[in-house]
Structure formats: structure tokens, C-alpha cells
Symmetry: C2
Subunit: 403 residues, 2 copies
């Protein structure tokens, strides 16, 4: 049930004509409370889209009552006019929501508010995804927001998840049950999947009681071991945003550890769905680095292998080319001795001690799931990075995206 | 005339059966002197092939009398046995060359030595290129070295350049004329082309008089602005080697600046040839970064764009997708303000001040040559990085390489 699985949330997804073809392209998620605590994690890219700049400001207060998300345009590299478009979208959403009223008591399934406080633009986060460098058609987006407000429903989570898809072939949602409270989430992302967030938008909701600081800690830890360990194509987006909203509607306040664990599970589930649906991928590849001196080393090694085009094309060709894997490991600064490294591909140890071991012909790469295990023999730490192969379909899809 | 353009050098290229198909695969370059000064630059990859480990030791003394190069196998990740193979190759070459005699006076065009001092294995550098992780067939390689010694000739440079090709579609050679002295060179490299050397082998020769320290300075500066600015696929090889050998046969000792300039010109010429023949490439892309605070920033920005698969696939699709270029710039730590950046593609300023400017439809990407100019407006420094697009042919070639 996506973001509306926890109590206290309504959502909608409508078709506003931003995408050609009539698919849903504007999503709205509303927190009916009683709380409106929130945390956010944003792209590390220094070229940040207007909605990222806006939402970073909104999140500073730790309070979000609504999130407007659109596909069909990233509103990145659009200068001051693009920022004004984002601001206008937030103003329009706030005014329209104030008109119908949102707030306590909206979990009765009717999809209409029984009145709540007026909300301000500064309580509305904005997310956009799509082509960089073009202005959004505001004459379509604002009516879309109006329509989304009208369609808000406690079962609207799936429609919202659909509305944020770009080249995604399916929507991504998750639900994790706590003890008397719930975490729900939706995400999109298919290209520009890289560390410090994939090219992705993600909204995670919970009806737990938790303040902004607790949410922030839970979200940062969850992202660190989920989205930040996904590296499909090494490209870091201008629009990446992950939001965590808490309504407190369950009346239960889990411990920090409980909340972090549930949010992490939700984010990991969504991250796996992103890799499973990455643009043009024919393989889902887990790079398990073990025996590292510390976790940073393990992540660095895994990421280096995940970003190596020669490894990725070899996997596309069902070729267990461990030599390319070692060459990728060798570009890192991690602690290891080249002559100590072992590498297994789908369970076959094709390399031991930095040289050929078991017959590579034994490796079965015919399936979609691939596991590369790299033992550095340098310590006790480990980490897993998720990536994809580099396929003809990736080249095709990304050479034709904007034209 | 490749490495034999300068006086004092002989070379050969023979077919030893390392490659299937009967193409030349063993090259030999001999410095007949009177000098035998040398310098080398090697891969920064920490997983170094046996011939790299060997040649680094040889170069420590600054003296090289011969270089054996083979295609058809990288002898990387082959452990101690692989290193012994390299050692045995050097021993065999030294013994065979001592038998025919090399040294002063061999520039008479007869291709036979008139006797010189016996040479040791420690004066023979070794370079290998090909698949990682497999032992070389020594029963073919050593007879190949014997045959190469027999075919040494003052016009053997082209055959040698042919013998080091792997997926190269044509051999790469260069000649640069000094005043009374000459620089010649050959190189191979088509995949794993990345900074801190492309996947490449390169031998540069000169008949100038220059000691190891002068050669070292000339070679490091030349590589810094040539091979180190080539980044075809972001993958750093285990075998990269660039050697500079000086015979002193011209009797002329140019200044450091003169020698550096000529070696730089030779390396730049070879680097351009590498990019022009990179695996599967349909575009040769110059990324000119100007207005940088310093040269390091310019190189970092250029390299980030060169390594961005979304930029590279867009270029393959003839799509002047400047948004992806800005997203790549944004991942760097270089000094810039996102709202100041200008980007031109083939002369059309599609982005000014971080937002859309001239109509992208004006950009003509139908040709093979592409120039991306990025003005950071942050200072006076600039650098150009050379790269390629990411094409179906790259995926095809690299998904099928070892199988």
C-alpha cells in the first residue's frame, strides 16, 4: 500500500499531461497528523535542481505536511525562473490543501479532511524528475496539483507511486510492520543510479511518533546502507531526494533502534527494486566485499568494481572475467595485498591469491542474479554494493532519451 | 618510421603464435647506443602485471638496451610463476642478443651488429598486453624472441608497432624532428583507456644525448599532458607502460625544454591516435575545460564528464544533452558556481549561466569529431581531456572479449 500504509497519510496520483501518452505524472502525499515531523536526504551533486534547493529549505524546520512530486521534467538547470516555478507549485498546493482542510482525523477512509489548520508553502516539499534543462509546463502542473488534491485518498499510495515513474517499468513500493506502527514507502529510479543517492525520488512514511532528530538519524543510517550502496551506472543525479514523514497516528513511539531498523528495511527493499528495474539491465549484481580492513574500504572496493565498464560489459556477455575485477580493485586505495585477493563469481572461486584458481567454465552466468564475492584478506569488515551489467539496452535507452 | 626513426635503434615484429590467426605478436626494440639511457612511467593500478613489476626494477638503473613486447596475453594476475616467465623472457632475450652482439655502429642499415658488450637480463624491459589472468605460452614466446632477434632491422619499427596491437584496428606510430635529432614512437591501446595511463604500451625513442634524469623529467611531463588526459572508458589497466629510450647517436644534446617539447609532441600524437581507434567508438570527443581556478580543477571536471556514461551514451545518440554534462560537473569538487557555468557543444552555447541558452537543435553531431567546451568562470586555468562515446560496439566488443 505504499506511502498510505501507515495511518495518517493520504495520497494521489494523477495525469496532468507532463508526460506524453497520458500516464500519471503528478503525485501528492499528505500527512494528516497529528504530527508532521520530517527528515530529508538530498543529492550530493553540487548542481542541484530547483525542487531540491526548495525542499532543503523546507526540511530545515523538520516539518512537512505535504509533498508534491512530478515526473516529466526535472526542473534542473532552469535558473531563477525554475526556482520560482517550484515556489509557485508549493504555494498552489498549500492554498488548495488549506481550502479542503487537512489534519487530524482523516484516517476514516473518506478521503476528505474534517478541517485542520491552514498550511503554508513552507510546509510543502517538492520533488521533480525527468529531463534536465527544461522548464516545467506550469499551465499543466498547477491544474494537476488541484486534481491531485481532489483525489487524495487513504488508499492513494499506489497511484502516487505510479505517478513518479519515468523510465521505470514498474512502480516501487514497500511496507514494513512495526509493533503497532508501520513504515510505508515509494520510490522511483532507473537511470543515473549512483552513490550518495541514486537518481531517485523516495518518500517513506510512518505513523510512529518520532521527532525530526530521531527521523533524521533513522533516515541517514537507512540511506547509508541502502540507496548509498546502489550504483547502477555511476552517474549522480541533480534531483535525488529521500523524505521520511511521521504522522504519529499510531500513538506509539518506538525506540531509535526500532525505527531505524524498520526504515532501513523499507529503504533496502526499495533500493533492491531500483536495481531490479534499472535501465536496460539484464543482470542484478551483488558485489560482496569481505575481509576488508574497515567498512569504508569495503565500500570503496565494491563501488570501484560496480563502476567498471569492462566488468559490467563482461557480465552482460556472461563472461566471469575476474581479471577485470582485480584490475578494478587495484585502482582503489583500500588495504590489501594483490597476491592475497580471492574472487568468487556465483560461488566459483575463479581467483585465489590473485591468480587463476577454479575453472571459469564452471561459472553459471545464465541467470539474472549475479554474486561477486571479493575477499581482501585484510580485516574483518564487509559491505555489499548493488549494481547492474552494461548492456546494449542501456546504450540504446540512454542514447535516445531526450531526442 | 616508428621507434626506428631515430638513429641507433633497430626493431622487429614477428608472429610467434600467441595470437590466433597468425598476426605478429612479439616485438623487439634494441638500443644500439652509444648510450642506453632510459626512463619509464607505469600504471598506477596496484594490481600490476608481472612485466610491469619487472620493468620497474629494470628502469631503476636508468639503463635499457632492449625491450621485448608481446600481445596475446597480459601476464597479469599470474602470481610468482608469471613473474618467472617474465624473468625467463628477459634472460632469453639478453642471451640471444649477446650472441649476435648489439652496440655502437649498428646504424649502417645491415641489421646486424658489429659486436658489442654482452647484455644482462637486467637491461631488458618487458611489456605484455592481452587477457588478464592467464599464463603466457612460453614454448611459443621464447622462440618468438629468437625470431625477433634474427629479424632486427633499422627499418623494423613498423613491424614492431604491428606486433603490439590487440583490438587496435591500426598501428600507432609517430616521428617528431628536433634540430639534428629525432624522436620516434609506437603505441597500442584500445580498451581500458584511462588516466594515469591508458591500457597501453608505448615505446618512445630518441637519438638525442640525454641522461636518465633528463629523460625522466621529459617523459613525466609528456605523459601528464597526453596519455594522462586520455580517458576512453575510465578503466585503469594492470599493464600500462611508457618507455623512453635514448641512444645518443645524433651526437646532439638538446636542452631539457627542447627534449620535453618533442617527447610531449610525440606522446600527444600517439594519445590522439589511441582515442581515434578506441574500442567501439563512433566519436572522438575533446572536453575543453576553461575558466578553471587551477589546472587540477580543469582536469577533474574534464575527467568527470569523460567518465559519465549518460553523457557518453547521449553523444553516441547525437544528442547534445548538456543537462547531463552539468550533472557530471556537479559531482566534482572543483571551484565553480552552478549558476555561472557555460557549455558549448560543437560551438553552440546550449547552456549559459547554468540554464538553457541557444537552441540545442542547432548542434551538429553528425560527424566523428565532437568538442565540448565548459567555461567554469572561476579562474584562468584550462585543460583538455580526450574521450569517446559509449556505443553498442563498445558493449559488443567488451562483452565478447574473453569468450
Amino acid at each position: 500500500m505504499s506511502v498510505t500504509a501507515p495511518r495518517g497519510f493520504r495520497a494521489a496520483g494523477v495525469a496532468a499531461g507532463l508526460k506524453s501518452g497520458g500516464a500519471r505524472d503528478v503525485a501528492l502525499v499528505v500527512n494528516d497528523g497529528p504530527d508532521a515531523a520530517a527528515a530529508g536526504v538530498f543529492t550530493a551533486n553540487r548542481v542541484k535542481a530547483a525542487p531540491v534547493l526548495w525542499s532543503q529549505q523546507v526540511l530545515r524546520a523538520g516539518l512537512v505536511r505535504a509533498v508534491v512530486l512530478n515526473s516529466g521534467g526535472a526542473n534542473a538547470c532552469t535558473g531563477a525562473p525554475g526556482f520560482q516555478d517550484t515556489h509557485a507549485t508549493a504555494e498552489h498546493a498549500a492554498a488548495t490543501l488549506s481550502g479542503i482542510g487537512i489534519g487530524i482525523g482523516d484516517d476514516d477512509g473518506t478521503g476528505t479532511g474534517r478541517g485542520g489548520p491552514a498550511i503554508g508553502a513552507g510546509e510543502v516539499a517538492i520533488c521533480s524528475t525527468g529531463l534536465i534543462g527544461e522548464r516545467l509546463p506550469m499551465d499543466r502542473l498547477l491544474p494537476g496539483v488541484t486534481a491531485a488534491v481532489a483525489e487524495l485518498a487513504v488508499d492513494g499510495g499506489l497511484a502516487a507511486a505510479e505517478a513518479i515513474m519515468t523510465t521505470d517499468t514498474r512502480s516501487k513500493t514497500t511496507v514494513v510492520a512495526g509493533t503497532g506502527w508501520t513504515v510505508g514507502g515509494m520510490a522511483k529510479g532507473a537511470g543515473m543510479l549512483a552513490p550518495a543517492l541514486a537518481t531517485m525520488l523516495c518518500v517513506v512514511t510512518t505513523d510512529a511518533i518520532a521527532g525530526p532528530a530521531v527521523l533524521d538519524e533513522a533516515l541517514r543510517e537507512a540511506c547509508r546502507v541502502s540507496f548509498d550502496r546502489v550504483d547502477s551506472d555511476g552517474c549522480l543525479s541533480t534531483n535525488d531526494t529521500v523524505l521520511l514523514l511521521a504522522s504519529g497516528a499510531s500513538g506509539i513511539a518506538p525506540s531509535q533502534a526500532e525505527l531505524t531498523a524498520a526504515v532501513t528495511e523499507a529503504c533496502r527493499d526499495l533500493a533492491r527494486q531500483l536495481i531490479a528495474d534499472a535501465e536496460g539491465a539484464s543482470k542484478e549484481v551483488a558485489i560482496e566485499v569481505v575481509g576488508a580492513a574497515d567498512e569504508d574500504d569495503a565500500v570503496e572496493v565494491g563501488r570501484s568494481v560496480a563502476r567498471n565498464n569492462l566488468v559490467k560489459t563482461a557480465l552482460f556477455g556472461n563472461d566471469p572475467n575476474w581479471g577485470r575485477i582485480l584490475a578494478a580493485v587495484g585502482t582503489t586505495g583500500a588495504a590489501f595485498e594483490p597476491d592475497d585477493i580471492d574472487v568468487a563469481v556465483n560461488g566459483i572461486w575463479v581467483c585465489r591469491g590473485g591468480a587463476a584458481a577454479e575453472d571459469r567454465a564452471k561459472v553459471d552466468l545464465s541467470g539474472r542474479q549475479v554474486t561477486i564475492r571479493i575477499d581482501l584478506h585484510a580485516g574483518p569488515a564487509e559491505a555489499t554494493i548493488w549494481t547492474n551489467d552494461l548492456s546494449h539496452a542501456y546504450v540504446h535507452e540512454n542514447s535516445a532519451y531526450s531526442t
